[in-house]
């Protein structure tokens, strides 16, 4: 039995009086891709924001390698190997692609390895290399998503949090990005993937959680979820 890299134990959080997450418990084991699927307003983004401690936890705890991290400020998390590519990309629009990537390695001091890693990101996303002097904001949506993933990878995360990488992208580009997520995972990065595109994300994931109105309503192996009749009806758009 592998040990969990990330564990949420009965986490409750939200914005002021509005409680969004209600007793969420999930686990991510080393080396796997975990997908959390759910519709609009299910609380998926809030969950990632809570893990990154942008939204504070009201009760429960978040363990990373067995250590509680929910009291740690957001800006130390990339230093211990936990980095997020947030929803809607949120790249730095008026910094160049290269500067964006270097910002991802902000907490690292090993300049030589940073430039090696930038080369690795360019290998993953060759289009970024062609655009490296261009401003982040001048990229297309897909390129921006690649940049956001690349930027998060620059901190050499052990656990990568991805928030809706398919948001607003053409189907072909989504496929490409999911291919790369798989590749990143193969190199040893654990991925927690939050998605509305249930079909694709369950296909690349090993395990999956289904979220609805701030609660986890189902959890299983990704394949089992893909074949689950109710999930099919609700999230996969298959009806018979």
């Amino acid at each position: 039995m592998k040990k969990p890299i990330l564990e949420l134990k009965n986490v409750t959080s939200g914005y002021n009086e509005i409680q969004v997450l209600k007793n969420i418990s999930i686990k991510a084991f080393e080396g796997e891709i975990v997908a959390v699927i759910g519709g609009n307003g299910a609380g998926k983004t809030t969950m990632l924001m809570t893990i990154s401690n942008i939204v504070p936890v009201t009760s429960g705890e978040i363990l990373y390698y067995g250590e509680p991290i929910h009291k740690k400020p957001a800006d130390v998390l990339p230093g211990i190997g936990l980095c997020q590519a947030p929803e809607g990309r949120r790249i730095f629009p008026r910094l160049s692609v290269e500067d964006n990537l270097e910002m991802g390695a902000f907490l690292r001091r090993d300049n030589k390895k940073i430039s090696e890693d930038i080369e690795y990101i360019y290998q993953l996303f060759p289009i970024l290399k062609d655009r490296k002097k261009q401003h982040g904001g001048s990229l297309s949506g897909g390129e921006q998503q690649m940049l956001a993933i690349g930027r998060a990878m620059m901190s050499r995360p052990k656990l990568l949090l991805l928030d809706e990488p398919s948001l607003g992208l053409a189907p072909l580009i989504v496929l490409k990005i999911f291919e790369i997520i798989k590749e990143i995972n193969k190199k040893g990065t654990t991925v927690l993937l939050v998605e509305q595109n249930a079909n694709l994300s369950l296909k690349i994931a090993q395990r999956g959680y289904v979220m609805e109105t701030g609660k986890i309503i189902a959890q299983d192996d990704a394949n089992a979820l893909l074949n689950n009749e109710e999930i099919k009806k609700a999230y996969l758009g298959v009806s018979d």
Binding site: S52, I54, P73, A74, D75, V76, L77, P78, G79, C83, Q84, P86, R90, I91, F92, P93, R94, L95, S96, D99, E102, M103, G104, F106, L107, H135, G136, G137, S138, R151, S155
Partner: protein, 408 residues
């Protein structure tokens, strides 16, 4: 050509009517409160004539009739651009430096006075650029730190007789501390709220200067501040060291030049550093910067303090040059002026801000001949500059098009 006039004509007429409605209350109100028509109308007629000529030239230009005239001009301009770009940077800098160094030898008192003003505002503009241009924090109370620097030197000098050079770091430190004190509560806010709160704190500092009679002598100000001095060897009676007070304007010019060059180097180094990039990331997206490991609060505080330190240095030079400080020099309008220099010149770009400062200090001097209409002409030229170069005279290289702006 007539069709061109027709298509543009309606907009042009509406513009002229609007301009008259604007000018009438501006120029038509007499000292006794009566509203006249003639004065505004005559000025308006001048503008109508001038704009007619401009519009005609514009339309002829659009038709391509002036191509013969403008082509050699624009190719010459491009050649100059290419030449300055190909010139090695040290050469360019040294040419500018030599020009700046030789400036007092060829100019009168008046020009030197304006030049010193320009240099002070370069320090201020570049200091504010750290806060507004790099970290993206709109600060409307920046001039308060200029005031803290000025008062620190004034008080240290008049009470304890501490020299300019010694009190310069002390004044810088005090301004930095003031920046931290003001920044600590305010930097929790973002955007518009931050602007309002900094405006308030700026005024608070000025009002403290104005009312703390025992210390600052209130609105009467502090008199008798010594100018900067240098120690020079004197060989007349053997060997002795002597203080020389730099009272003459061209000596002060060199002191200001040294401070401005120091500021330029500091800001250039900062913007190329890791900290500079983190500031820019905060400006672009604070939450995303935090997720990348930027300690946003302390870096914002650092930006605020760094800006305040540069403002404080400029302030103590201001006190030493005027040999008098009073709270009137640190009103909101000064903050607004410095901010417009930064915006006009191009946020984040050092040569841009220097040009912006020169434009905003020099233009009012040029417009002195317009006498009464000086400020009107000044305002009009500022409006035109923003219309034609919305990103500033020389936009910063790092700051390009925002994704939402591009779609237009």
């Amino acid at each position: 050509m007539i069709q061109e006039f027709k298509s543009k004509g309606k907009k042009y007429l509406i513009g002229l009517v609007w301009l008259f409605l604007l000018l009438w209350p501006l120029l038509g109100i007499n000292a006794d409160g009566t509203l006249t028509f003639v004065k505004a109308f005559s000025v308006w007629l001048y503008i109508v004539c001038a704009s007619m000529i401009v519009v005609t030239i514009y339309i002829i230009h659009k038709k391509g009739l002036t191509l013969k005239l403008t082509k050699p001009l624009s190719s010459a301009r491009n050649k100059i651009y290419a030449y300055t770009a190909s010139m090695p940077k040290p050469l360019l800098f040294s040419i500018i430096g030599i020009i700046a160094f030789l400036f007092p030898f060829f100019t009168e008192r008046y020009a030197q006075d304006v030049a010193i003003n320009v240099l002070i505002y370069i320090c201020l503009g570049l200091g504010l650029n750290i806060v507004v241009g790099m970290a993206g924090l709109l600060d409307l109370g920046y001039i308060a730190f200029y005031g803290v620097g000025a008062y620190t030197y004034a008080l240290l000098n008049t009470f304890y007789g501490i020299s300019f050079w010694l009190s310069l770091p002390i004044a810088a430190g005090f301004s930095g501390i003031a920046g931290c004190i003001v920044g600590y509560p305010t930097l929790r806010m973002r955007g518009d709220y931050l602007a309002i709160v900094t405006l308030g704190f700026g005024e608070i500092i000025r009002i403290v200067f104005n009312n703390w009679m025992q210390l600052t002598n209130g609105p009467n100000g502090i008199l008798g501040i010594k100018p900067p001095s240098v120690i020079i060897p004197n060989f007349t009676n053997g060997f002795s060291l002597e203080y020389l007070y730099l009272k003459k304007l061209h000596y002060l010019y060199y002191v200001a030049l040294i401070l401005a060059i120091f500021t330029i180097i500091v800001v250039a180094r900062l913007s190329a550093s890791r900290i500079g990039r983190a500031w820019e990331a905060i400006r672009e997206d604070e939450t995303a910067a935090e997720m990348m490991g930027v300690n946003t609060f302390s870096l914002k505080l650092l930006a605020y303090a760094a800006g305040a330190v540069l403002g404080g240095i400029a302030g103590s030079f201001f006190a030493a040059r005027m040999r008098f400080v009073s709270p009137e020099s640190f009103t909101f309008i000064e903050s607004a002026m410095v901010l417009s220099m930064v915006v006009l010149g191009g946020m984040g770009s050092i040569p841009g801000i220097i040009l912006g400062v020169i434009a905003l200090i020099a233009l009012p001097e040029v417009f002195r001949e317009f006498e009464l209409y000086r400020m009107l002409a000044f305002g009009a030229s500022m409006t035109l500059m923003m219309l034609f170069r919305p990103k500033g005279i020389i936009p910063s290289k790092r700051m390009g098009v925002r994704s939402e702006e591009k779609e237009e």
